[in-house]
């Protein structure tokens, strides 16, 4: 009897410096408990983190690379959203 393929999980780790959980890789495990243990063994052998999330890969909805233009171009033209767009006289100092 062929064993069904073991589900894939995405692993996110929050490092000790208080940053957000960050995607570090993926792994295979039959259930969430085993995925968490495997993530500990595979991705935190050197104190890489203080918290782990595992998420079934199938639960992720990703943007389509073909829609990259439509998705992200609108932000590119809006340079007035950046602080450097605005002029502040040097005499005013750092702002």
């Amino acid at each position: 009897m062929a064993t069904p393929n073991t589900p894939l999980w995405e692993v996110f780790i929050r490092s000790r410096n208080g940053l957000a959980h960050k995607h570090v890789g993926s792994l295979h495990a039959s259930d969430a408990t085993m995925a968490l243990q495997a993530a500990r063994d595979i991705y935190t052998r050197r104190g890489e983190g203080l918290s782990i999330w595992v998420v079934p890969s199938t639960a992720i909805t990703a943007s389509d690379p073909a829609d990259k233009g439509m998705m992200f171009e609108p932000a590119e033209s809006k340079i007035y959203r950046h602080p450097t767009f605005y002029e502040v006289p040097e005499e005013v100092g750092h702002m």
Binding site: T3, E10, H23, G25, S30, S57, T58, I60, A62, P65
Partner: protein, 330 residues
């Protein structure tokens, strides 16, 4: 590392790869953009990378065998803890790489089955035996040293998931090489017998390690397209030369002799090594190395003996899922 579930590009490859897409793809590569799993890519790019990354993964896994051989016989607790950690790292590296290979659309099960069936290759170096403790030092120093030489340029490989896996691997690999060199240093500062053991290990590993960089540039069959696609950034001979130049002074510091009487140093400082015996390389690649059969037998045995664990885990997950559905229905 993204997921195969998101991978919808496979169907595209079956159709005609129109020249416009291929040109656009090459333009992205030339602009040093990274290719990601869901991006369009030529079928040959996908195939080349699946082959290369999965072979790399198999090598990490098979690479655990020659060193695992010495864990129970390490001379001190410190050495034992370090070797155990190193072998665990190799396992981790194999797993990062399998995950990267899977993003190209082949499942983990298929990749592993191809290896167990003898259809996929792994690095020939692991078909040599580890006869003494000095072999463990030599593997760390030279085999991992050569691997680092090969892997550092791969951190800038055009395929994003592979490059990211390599960055992680390279960070961890540096400990491997240093622990190997420390073993060699201890042996070389020890008794005459210990130093002789270190020299003997170097004699046996030197040439196989030079072969790790692959066939000479003139005969390498994968190099041209891999270079064009920026999978490969340096040629086999360039990397081999870099390795030799870095290693000779390290051997001199140990007081060991590189087993190549014909080796000379150029005016520009490069060490020129003698002709490599490529018939030996081909023999090992063809399955006739000293340990090919042992390595395959060990992998197959481990896979077969783990079957019940995989089945039990799947059955338990299925039972829990079933129970949850039943409770939800109540």
């Amino acid at each position: 590392m993204y997921t195969q579930a998101l991978n919808t590009a496979e169907a595209d490859d079956r159709g005609l790869e129109d020249a416009a897409r291929a040109a656009q793809f090459q333009a992205r590569i030339d602009a040093e953009e990274r290719i990601e799993p869901n991006d369009w890519m030529p079928a040959a790019y996908r195939k080349t990378l699946t082959r290369q990354i999965s072979q790399h993964a198999h090598s990490e896994i098979v690479g655990m065998l020659p060193e695992g051989n010495w864990i129970t016989r390490a001379p001190t607790l410190r050495r034992k803890a370090a070797l155990l950690a190193k072998v665990q790292d190799e396992c981790g590296h194999g797993l990062y790489l399998y995950a990267a290979a899977e993003t190209l659309g082949t499942s983990r099960e298929e990749l592993v089955d191809a290896m167990l069936a003898g259809k996929a290759k792994y690095s020939s170096i692991f078909n040599y035996p580890t006869l003494t403790w000095a072999d463990i030092g030599t593997i760390g120093w030279l085999v991992d040293g050569a691997a680092i030489m090969n892997q550092i340029p791969l951190c800038r490989c055009s395929y994003g998931p592979y490059a990211r896996a390599m960055i992680r691997v390279c960070k961890e690999e540096s400990f491997h090489q240093r622990q190997g060199y420390e073993i060699m240093l201890t042996l070389c500062r020890g008794s005459d017998e210990q130093k002789a053991m270190a020299q003997d290990a170097l004699n046996r590993w030197w040439w196989p390690v030079l072969m790790m960089f692959g066939p000479p540039d003139a005969t390498s069959q994968h190099s041209d397209t891999s270079t064009k696609w920026k999978i490969k950034r340096f040629s086999n001979d360039e990397l081999r030369q870099k390795f030799v130049d870095a290693t000779v002074p390290q051997a001199q510091y140990l007081g060991l002799t590189i087993p190549d009487p014909g080796m000379t140093q150029d005016a520009d400082g490069h060490w020129r090594y003698s002709e490599i015996d490529w018939t030996e390389f081909k023999q090992v690649l063809a399955g006739n190395g000293p340990c090919n059969r042992d390595r395959m037998a060990a992998r197959r045995k481990a896979h077969e003996e783990g079957t019940w664990v995989r089945e039990a885990a799947a059955a338990y997950a299925a039972k829990r899922a079933h129970r949850q559905t039943a409770q939800a229905a109540e």
